[in-house]
Amino acid sequence: MNKTVKNAKEAINGISDNMTVMFGGFGLCGIPENTILELSKTKIKGLICISNNCGVDNFGLGLMLNNHQIKKMVSSYVGENAEFERQMLSGELEVELLPQGTLAERVRAGGAGIPAFYVPAGYGTEVGIGKESREFNGKMHLLEHALTADFAFVKAWKGDTAGNLIYKYTANNFNNMMAMAGKITIAEVEELVPEGELDPNFIHTPGIFVQRIFQGVDYIKKIEQLTLSK
């Protein structure tokens, strides 16, 4: 089954206003740059975006934020850009903050068909307000619900035409679970090869989770905190 599409423009076919969408990446590491850039050129708006972070000024999801395409962010850590802060404080942008591991597991559960589960993170804090709680083994836990999306956008290092994906170093992060949790998952890769060329022993995301794949171009891979040994 060849899932290849030509480019980001062809890949985002079918995405419309007010959809729930997921973006892989941690900070700017492993974000689907091509897809974000292409979405930022469209008039699509009102999106509920599930992503650990929201890019920086003029890069990553910051591009879509500048265009007011995002209605709500579901994240664990935000505010690396001034426009985000302005929109949040003015009420233009709705923000739901979640513990990072809870966010990761809610996405994983969504892809794995588990509707809800209990975790200790956030119990006794404002994250727990309005959530069911229950004691297990003498410790309090919160009931957390699965997250899924109309579209999930992920970025991998290598991929094949069957949709199998391999990530590089810490660029895996949220990509693997989000690929599972999208009704339609679009993967962009730095190197697209014919099926059969990737060693099946080293696949991170099996192709079953990916509906469309394309060869990405012109990766910038911006670094947020360049830190060197002295």
Binding site: Y77, Q100, R108, A121, T125, Q225, L226, L228
Partner: protein
Amino acid sequence: MALDKNQIAMRIARELHNGDYVNLGIGIPTLVANFIPEGIYVTLQSENGMLGMGPFPTMETVDADLINAGKQTITYLPGASFFDSATSFAMIRGGHVDITILGAFEVSEKGDIASWKVPGKLIKGMGGAMDLVASAKNIIVAMQHTNKEGQSKLLKECTLPLTGVNCVKRIVSDLAVLDVTDKGFKLLERAPGVSIEQIQKATEGTLIVEGEIPEIKF
């Protein structure tokens, strides 16, 4: 003399055991990696998806795909592994990470911690801190004993939004090493030249002083 940031990190490094898997937070906790005692081998976990974190890279070895949870460029050591965020937090939630070291704005005598949000100021989010404090087997907090106005940050009750409840086990501040017990903060060691009275004055929560309290030696 109160401890400086490096001395706090140096003291905390003595809490590490050979073979520990360790998660270090941003700020003073990151400095702990510089002071790991000779003969002690630990593996650093970074919650964005790696075990076996190494030092910062050189300009020649920088890779945008290799960062830590503070989004800083880093390297990896032999034996390292990379994985997705759900697996990373399974390690944390499942109790496989032995020790978590993080900073705090406030800690209460019951072991509650506030470290992520100051209402009225920019709210950036909790990141992985809530998951870490809710599940780590051992949590050590690195912090200043008082704020810039001299007010205590070791309190009866936290005043800021909480990161977690009843979870902090030990605190290493610029003035002292303390354990959180059922009865309050138990003073274990004091910074060189810092008196028990000074520590008492800087601690709003219940302070338990039993027997001789030794000075921290470097």
